[in-house]
């Protein structure tokens, strides 16, 4: 029971991070119908920017930790958003209207380019960070096994819920969100009502990148170890989460992220840690066999 609870906490934390990255995949897919395979790299860059900012601030006292994290969050979100904007500008906008395969190849190319760019400028070795947020609660103890919930885990889950709420509100309640949904459903008609479709798509990349930066910061703080290659696996996991939950659906991305995180945590807790990816992907295959649109995805056929 204690062990189960601990893995549940770990799984939710991991799942929240996957969910944050998955939102970027699902939003971009929704609006241009294309998987942005460089999104994992955007997340990795977000992690590097966050780490760089924290190192630049230098050692801070316990009271200033919150401020330091907020500052790192702000800097990482803004700079990573700029990368997201440039990515769209350089790699995707010129290919608008080109066959989808071209955009896909461009995405993979950008992914490799960004990985190598970080490897060259930051070095291939892992970067480490001393834990900024230490400590936590011990929820229960039994036979020497402690169920702990760290402050960092609370921070990750709270930040994810807050950001998800904000983004859901932006998309459902604001003019920008309405324009995004319009572009998603019919970009020609969106232009005919006066929406600047290119700008709306760019803003979608910016929003997705900002969320990936948050995930990058969380991972940096949570694990304290990053390198130029973390975007690849996390990207594939988050992409899986987005497909799992139903690509194009934001609640789906969060749900998919949580489920992937939980499957991984429980599988590595009860069976074998080596096969956790196999478990996650196998369950994805099973879900897609019976629900090809994912858990919360909508069927393709639409009465128009």
């Amino acid at each position: 029971m204690e062990y189960f609870l601990q893995q549940l906490i770990n799984g939710i934390t991991l799942g929240a991070i996957y969910g944050l990255i998955a939102i970027g995949y699902t939003m971009v897919y929704g609006i241009i119908g294309m998987i942005n395979f460089a999104h994992g790299e955007i997340y990795m860059i977000g992690a590097f920017i966050a780490l760089g900012t924290i190192l630049a601030i230098g050692p801070v006292g316990a009271g200033a930790v919150v401020l330091a994290i907020l500052l790192a969050l702000l800097v990482a979100m803004m700079l990573t958003a700029t990368y997201g904007w440039m990515l769209e500008r350089v790699a995707y906008r010129p290919l608008r209207g080109a066959p989808r395969l071209a955009a896909l190849i461009s995405a993979i190319g950008m992914s490799i380019l960004l990985q190598n760019y970080v490897q060259l400028t930051q070095g291939a070795r892992v970067k480490t960070l001393q834990p900024l947020v230490a400590g936590g609660f011990t929820l229960m103890e039994h036979d020497g096994f402690e169920v702990s919930l760290s402050y960092m885990q609370i921070l990750i889950v709270v930040a994810t819920i807050a950001l998800m709420t904000i983004f859901t509100l932006v998309i459902t309640r604001t003019a920008l969100g309405r324009a995004q949904r319009a572009c998603e459903q019919d970009s020609t008609m969106a232009a005919l009502v006066g929406i600047n479709v290119d700008r709306t798509i760019a803003l979608t990349f910016v929003m997705g990148a900002a969320l990936a930066a948050v995930a990058g910061l969380m991972v940096t703080l949570y694990y304290g170890v990053i390198d130029f290659f973390i975007g690849f696996v996390a990207g594939i996991k988050a992409f899986t989460a987005a497909v799992f939950g139903g690509i194009g659906s934001i609640p789906g991305a969060i749900l998919g992220g949580l489920l992937i995180g939980l499957i991984e945590a429980f599988w590595s807790g009860y069976f074998s840690i080596e096969y956790k990816d196999v478990a996650a992907f196998s369950i994805l295959v099973l879900v897609l066999l019976f629900r090809p649109t994912g858990l919360l995805g909508r069927p393709e056929v639409e009465k128009v």
Partner: protein, 245 residues
């Protein structure tokens, strides 16, 4: 108000418009008739810059539109209720209208929505419903309502009668006349229903294979034997008038 001179439009290598000259005056209703595939919808979309014309000029209220992007053109006072209505299917009726009002000043929104709901009362009942769940007639009303929300000076309407019951068609045509007479909105109307269109319009143009072949007063075109044969008396079979299909 709207002046097209020598407009040529291509889809890839296929030429859809071959040097079209067309004029819509201030406060006028102008009908554009022609068979399927003649290029009527293309003409309206070319005015909106989607696709952009490859040659010729499109002037609206003295300003050149050719070469400008669609979202800029739609901010000059032109609104389009396009072919197939293109309602945003997963947005509510109200959200569709909000998007229509995107280029209008926000303070007009309440009165403009009220006006659309007065013209098409059924939209008020449906305002919280998703666009994709409306019937064809309701979607057409929404498409016109959405176009009106931008307070256009020129309204482009692509086959508003297509596939609708005669009573709804009458309602829609009455609204078009009303918009034109009370608000002074100019209308460029594309129709296969040539009889309705030419009775409503002051002037008309006939488009065949991307060229304007005839133009004149609506009433005169209605009496023209060629038009009668081709578009009014089941004349899609007539080869002489060039159905363009």
């Amino acid at each position: 108000m709207l002046d097209l001179r020598g407009v040529e439009t291509f889809y890839g290598h296929i030429q859809a418009l071959r040097g079209v000259d067309l004029h819509v005056g201030e406060g006028e209703i102008v009908a554009l008739i022609g068979a399927n595939g003649a290029g009527k919808s293309t003409l309206l979309m070319t005015v909106c810059g989607k696709p952009a014309p490859r040659a010729g000029s499109i002037r609206f209220q003295g300003k050149e539109l050719a070469g400008r992007s669609t979202h800029e053109i739609m901010r000059t006072g032109i609104a389009h209720a396009p072919e197939g209505r293109r309602i945003f299917p997963r947005l509510t009726v109200l959200e569709n209208l909000q998007l229509g009002a995107l280029t209008a000043a926000p303070e007009h929104f309440a009165t403009d929505v009220e006006r659309v709901f007065t013209l098409f009362p059924v939209l008020r009942q449906r305002s919280g419903q998703r666009g994709g769940t409306l019937s064809g007639g309701e979607q057409q009303m929404l498409a016109i309502g959405r176009a009106l929300m931008s307070r256009p000076r020129l309204l482009l309407l692509d086959e508003p009668s297509l596939g609708l019951a005669p009573m709804i068609v009458q309602h829609i045509f009455r609204v078009i006349r009303d918009i034109n007479e009370t608000a002074g909105v100019s209308v460029l109307l594309v129709e296969q229903n040539a009889y309705h269109a030419l009775r409503l319009a002051r002037r008309g143009y006939v488009l065949v294979n991307g060229r304007i072949t005839l133009s004149g007063e609506g009433a005169a075109l209605l009496d023209n034997p060629e038009i009668r044969a081709a578009y009014l008396e089941g004349g899609a079979r007539s080869d002489k008038a060039g159905t363009g299909a």
